[in-house]
């Protein structure tokens, strides 16, 4: 079996790290893609709503994943190729959808009386993919810089919106001293909107369900919103639910897709309508099923 990660040689990794450490984005990126959802969010503050740019870049990630092997073959042109990447833009409909989700999260929080600001172009990416690819010393190096960014802005509490950022930020303290409170938006919602009609099945984010103990948090929210969903021991239980394949995308896109399709086929046996809580699960499953983000389901107005 060919382990494609070996394609990412040392110098390419260094080049990507350089961009990350200067721009604070997951890959070379036009930053307006990240901030476009926010129109009148207050700037900065002690409590911030943190997007990590995850919803915004998820529709773009496949393009970057395909870009890595090209980069690997053109070592001499890293710098100009990386600049070229800054011109990539996600499909408009996909980007609009992710903006709508972030706005909905923001408005749900406000309805629940939660005050927060947003860091706009100053918001640093969490470094999640370094952690997930096992680039542990790079993750540590990068986390130190991110901590400084938060400190400079006087951030004391971070409200996360996706599982990958939440996981990465929650794990900073394993690597560095980190005393900023990290909380997920779903844990702060007491009231939700009107739930979407239909019979759903939940595809759990692996990180939320098995690493971050949030499984029941969104089940409760769905019940509050009156959303009907079915459980099936072989498909949705804590020990049996499977990954969407997303994390493999930068390593081996083909296998990543096969896992996505496999998972979608399982879910379909329970219901055609699938609820996800992660923008990458959405990208990997939506080619095969009717997928909705949890924010689209608990606040359908």
């Amino acid at each position: 079996m060919l382990y494609i990660v070996s394609l990412m040689d040392k110098s390419l990794k260094e080049a990507l790290m350089k961009v990350m450490m200067s721009d604070f984005t997951p890959f070379p990126l036009d930053k307006s893609i990240c901030t476009g959802w926010a129109t009148n969010e207050p700037r900065g503050g002690r409590t911030i709503l943190y997007t990590g740019c995850m919803y915004q870049v998820a529709p773009l990630s496949a393009i970057f994943d395909r870009f890595i092997p090209i980069l690997s073959k053109n070592r001499l042109f890293y710098a100009s190729l990386l600049n070229l990447a800054k011109k990539f833009h996600p499909d408009k409909a996909a980007l609009d959808r992710s903006y709508k989700i972030l706005r909905s999260i923001s408005s749900l929080l406000k309805k629940n009386g939660i005050n927060f600001g947003y860091m706009y172009e100053g918001e640093p990416y969490s470094g999640a993919f370094l952690l997930e690819l096992g680039m542990l010393s790079d993750f540590e190096r990068y986390a130190t810089l991110v901590r400084e960014k938060f400190k400079q802005q006087g951030v004391k509490r971070i409200i996360t919106t996706d599982p990958h950022s939440h996981n990465a930020l929650s794990r900073y303290s394993e690597f560095i001293t980190f005393d900023i409170d990290v909380v997920n938006y779903m844990e702060l919602l007491r009231e939700v909107g009107i739930g979407k009609k239909g019979d759903f099945v939940i595809h759990d984010s692996c990180l939320y369900s098995r690493f971050l103990n949030k499984r029941e948090v969104y089940r409760e929210l769905l019940k509050k919103a009156g959303v009907s969903f079915k459980e099936d021991y072989m498909v949705t239980s804590k020990e049996n639910s499977l990954c969407c394949g997303g994390p493999l995308s930068p390593i081996d896109e083909r296998v990543s897709k096969r896992i996505g399709e496999y998972r979608a086929n399982q879910l379909k046996k329970v219901s055609e309508k699938v609820i996800v809580q992660c923008p990458f699960c959405y990208v990997n499953l939506s080619p095969y099923v009717e997928a909705y983000d949890i924010a689209e389901v608990i606040d359908s107005e």
Binding site: C243, L248, V255
Partner: protein, 376 residues
Amino acid sequence: MNEIWNIAIDRAVNNNVPRVRSILESYPYINDARKKLRQGKTEVIKDISKYVELTIESVKRNGGNAYFARDAKEVREIVDKIVGDNQRIVMGKSMVAYECGVRDHLIERGKDVWETDLGEFLIQLSNEPPSHIIAPAIHMTKEQASKVVRKVNPDSKAESHEEIAVEARKFLREKFINAQVGITGANAIAADTGSVLLIENEGNIRMTTILPEKHIAIAGVEKILPTLEHAFLEVMVQSAYAGLYPPTYVNLTSGPSSTGDIEMKRVSPAHGPKEFNLILVDNGRIEVSKDPTIWESLLCIRCGRCHFHCPVYRVLGSTWGDPPFTGPMGAMWSYVSYKDATPSTYCVHSGGCREVCPMDINIPKVLEKLKSLSQK
């Protein structure tokens, strides 16, 4: 291959997963057993050299021979010495023997060697690597298996699961009876009594340990447990989590067969083997035992449960990992035994493996560390 694998793995998952669940519900004491077992295994892993010595002493006290092999080559050399000029060898599924290339080595030396576990027998005939740690032929549908058995009986009409099993039984009977050496692995080894425990359902291991004149058990040093009590817990826990509880047979061997029936003088052999040999294998385990994260991989009792709860294994099967090590445990063990960390890069940190592992091994954490090593 993909389509056949999809059918085979879905059948296996749908048979196995609900069965393990119902076993664990019906026999709640297994939950206490696994905790005590983890403690016992941890104690040994933290001090392997001491327990290797204790085990060797105990085996010798029972009149057996015990050896310590640093690597696969030493294992093969020791096996060669024990086998000597004997020709006929039967094997009862041993993953460590596979890891150390024992079967192929003996065949190369012109020996007549037969795997006797049905799954191993099928993959020996089809010349394929094992695809699951306890169900090595899991990738094979019954339709394929029925073709494979025709290699030993071209007239075979076996089609059903039962008929294929009967076909193998017919062929292997004669091999058992005439074998001079039987090679097995070990599920657990008790340091205090020098006993080797083996669980099985087919009866092939019992025959392999009893019928030939010489018995060789080959096992990794991590299979040692402090006491015979722990060793019994191991066989209970392993079989329950493999979905095969109660196991049909538990074989306990403490040295060669003997009798004291004539004037109370103890003589050997009686009906069973006249020689018992235990080979304790390091092959990378002791080095790993010192790593603050990866050491946990040595707690694995090879129940094979993590495989069924892993999305990557469900899709890739035996192509993920270095044989005989597949699935999440295989991504860890490819490193332990072959120092290959690359399989870990396919881990999607789904975490189902950790959820179901009886030894509570933090598999995603071990694989995260291995991913980092794979990049050095």
